[in-house]
């Protein structure tokens, strides 16, 4: 009989066993040597999609797995046991002094008071769920489901928070309930009567005429806007704006100049002089008035003289006639 190649056979067996052990170690046997904490939570909602081995995540970091799912018959609640790998939690210090598990539970207890809760979340579109541990409640907020008394002392109870999906369902149910209370028949009747009224209004000839007028107005407006657009081309507008700007600049300069000149004008003195001048003008005006009155009298006298001379040129030599006295005639009897 042909002998076996002992070296090849030995190599085959040894490498096979080494691979087997390596695979066992890689596929989870190493978990046996890691330190774990046991979290327990109780859910009121359905845990469909959550299986033994489903992920447990703390703020999205997979820190453990679901170990057991059981039903609390009396309370009709679902009890979920989770294993949490402590190696995921670090303090930044090289080594934590004392009992690591106790310190971890202490940390979790303080975080629970700050609102640490666990919630069921969907892992994609497949319907599978995982447990998300995060701060879903406000600090100091009372827990929805208190810790059951019969839970073991060495497990840490994390209160649950309703999942997003259950919230949506609740919202939908409330919405549907509210919708069902709406009196659709009455609304429908009101709407139909309103529609009838509206139909009457719409078929009113006055409205048609108003619409026609509006149409005309709008066409006129359109034409006007077209004309304006033609006149006020962009170039033109720019020119106008430039001119306006120039004018404003000039106005600004003028105002500055006026301000400076007003500053230089010595207003009190000028106004005093102006007042004095006004007074003197006033006196002059009065004198001029007197003069003019006298001149007027003189002109009148002169005109009278000229008229007299015209009537009686000889008076220039004879002098002025004495006024003829007309005596009244005696009344005939």
């Amino acid at each position: 009989m042909i002998e076996a190649n002992k070296f090849r056979l030995g190599l085959f067996v040894l490498i096979g066993i080494a691979l087997f052990l390596a695979c066992l170690f890689v596929f989870g046997l190493s978990d046996m040597f890691t330190k774990k904490a046991r979290f327990v939570s109780v859910f009121r909602e359905s845990v469909q999609g959550l299986n033994i081995g489903s992920s447990v995540k703390y703020k999205g970091v997979p820190v453990g797995t679901v170990k057991k799912i059981s039903i609390l018959v009396d309370e009709k609640l679902i009890l979920v046991d989770m294993d949490i790998d402590l190696s995921f939690f670090t303090t930044g210090k090289s080594k934590v002094q004392g009992n690591l598990l106790q310190k971890f539970y202490q940390f979790c207890r303080s975080e629970r008071d700050k609102g640490l809760r666990c919630r069921l979340e969907y892992a994609g579109i497949t319907g599978l769920k995982f447990v998300e541990i995060d701060y879903f409640a406000q600090p100091g907020e009372p827990v929805a489901i208190p810790r059951p008394d019969y839970l073991r002392k060495d497990v840490f109870y994390v209160p649950s928070s309703p999942g997003v999906f259950s919230d949506i369902l609740k919202l939908i149910n409330v919405s549907l309930e509210r919708i069902s209370k709406i009196d659709f028949e009455n609304i429908s009747n009101q709407m139909s009567s309103t529609l009838g009224e509206m139909k009457k209004i719409v078929s009113d000839p006055k409205l048609k005429k108003a619409i026609e007028q509006l149409k005309n107005m709008s066409s006129n407006l359109e034409k006007s806007s077209e004309s304006i657009a033609k006149v006020l081309t962009e170039k033109r507008l720019r020119q106008i704006f430039n001119r306006v700007e120039d004018s404003l600049n000039s106005l600004d300069a003028l105002a500055k100049r006026v301000t400076s000149q007003l500053g230089q004008a010595k207003l009190p003195a000028t106004s005093k002089a102006f007042r004095e001048a006004a007074e003197s003008v006033n006196d002059t005006k009065q004198m001029l008035g007197n003069t003019l009155m006298k001149l007027d009298q003189a002109i009148d006298a002169l005109t009278e003289l000229v008229n007299y001379l015209n009537d009686d040129p000889s008076s220039l030599l004879k002098g002025k006639k004495k006024p003829k006295i007309d005596f009244p005639e005696p009344q005939k009897k």
Partner: protein
């Protein structure tokens, strides 16, 4: 009356069914006898390990194990590659490329790894066992052993069985690892997944029990291959053509039995919740 008359055809059909049933009954009887003899001899060998021909065990382990290693690694690697390709085509439609790691991991470790190794072992070891024992029967070596008072089962069957019991799980481990590597290659090249992400996903979804289930299957397949190979060898007719027929029959029967055993085990695992 014509030989193709309706009555003759019917009689031939009934006769064929009868012969097939008789053959099946004979096979079952031989198998039961062989299993009984193996059980009795195994108990004897367990009590007296030195009575086992360990040199023969080594030879068959080398023949069925280490010599079959290259072909097992290559076929399982390609199987992982193909599986990942097919899974990737479907998973891509839903943006679930990472789930290719799940598909490849579970399929290779629980199903395809042990099955492909069993198919290769059937072709190599099962046929070799049948041909060897058949040839010995032709040469009347088995009759000589019996005449001298030696148990042919202890000398010829138990070493093969022990060799298969050891070699099959080891081969399956190699097959599993190479199949996973095939999937890994597709994951990082075709799907563009980061190597660490694929690796992390694979070890996240696989469990030591997954591998153990596959190894249990491989042990069952090894036992089947050894028993069927030896049975067909003992049933071999005493001529060269008979040896050829028994060899072919051993391969066909082994594959059939492996598929049935695989189905039964898969159903059993499902019932047990694995």
């Amino acid at each position: 009356m014509s030989i193709f008359s309706e009555e003759n055809v019917f009689n031939d059909f009934i006769e064929k069914i009868g012969k097939a049933a008789q053959k099946i009954c004979k096979d079952m009887r031989d198998l039961t006898l062989l299993v009984g003899d193996i059980t009795r001899t195994s108990w004897y060998v367990i009590k007296h390990p030195s009575k086992l021909r360990w040199r023969d065990v080594g030879y068959y382990m080398d023949l069925c194990g280490s010599q079959a290693l290259p072909i097992v690694i290559m076929i399982c690697f390609l199987m992982g590659l193909i599986l990942a390709f097919q899974a990737a085509v479907q998973a891509r439609k839903f943006g679930g490329e990472i789930f290719v790691a799940d598909a490849v991991g579970f399929s290779i470790l629980k199903e395809l790894g042990p099955l492909m190794v069993a198919m290769i072992a059937t072709g190599r070891a099962g046929s070799a066992f049948a041909a060897e024992i058949g040839t010995m029967k032709v040469n009347e070596e088995i009759s000589a052993l019996e005449t001298m008072g030696f148990s042919p089962t202890r000398f010829l069957v138990i070493p093969k069985l022990v060799a298969m019991l050891i070699a099959m799980p080891v081969l399956t481990v190699f097959g599993d690892v190479s199949g996973l590597f095939g999937g890994f290659i597709v994951g990082i090249t075709m799907l563009g997944l980061p190597g660490m992400a694929y690796y992390t996903r694979t070890i996240a979804v696989l469990h030591p029990s997954t591998m153990a289930l596959g190894l249990i299957k491989s042990i069952v397949f090894g036992i089947l291959i050894a028993i069927v190979g030896c049975l067909r060898g003992f049933q071999s007719e005493s001529d060269a053509q008979g040896v050829g027929r028994s060899t072919t029959s051993s391969v066909v029967t082994s594959i059939f039995m492996i598929v049935i055993a695989d189905s039964v085990l898969t159903m059993l695992y499902t019932f047990l919740g694995y």
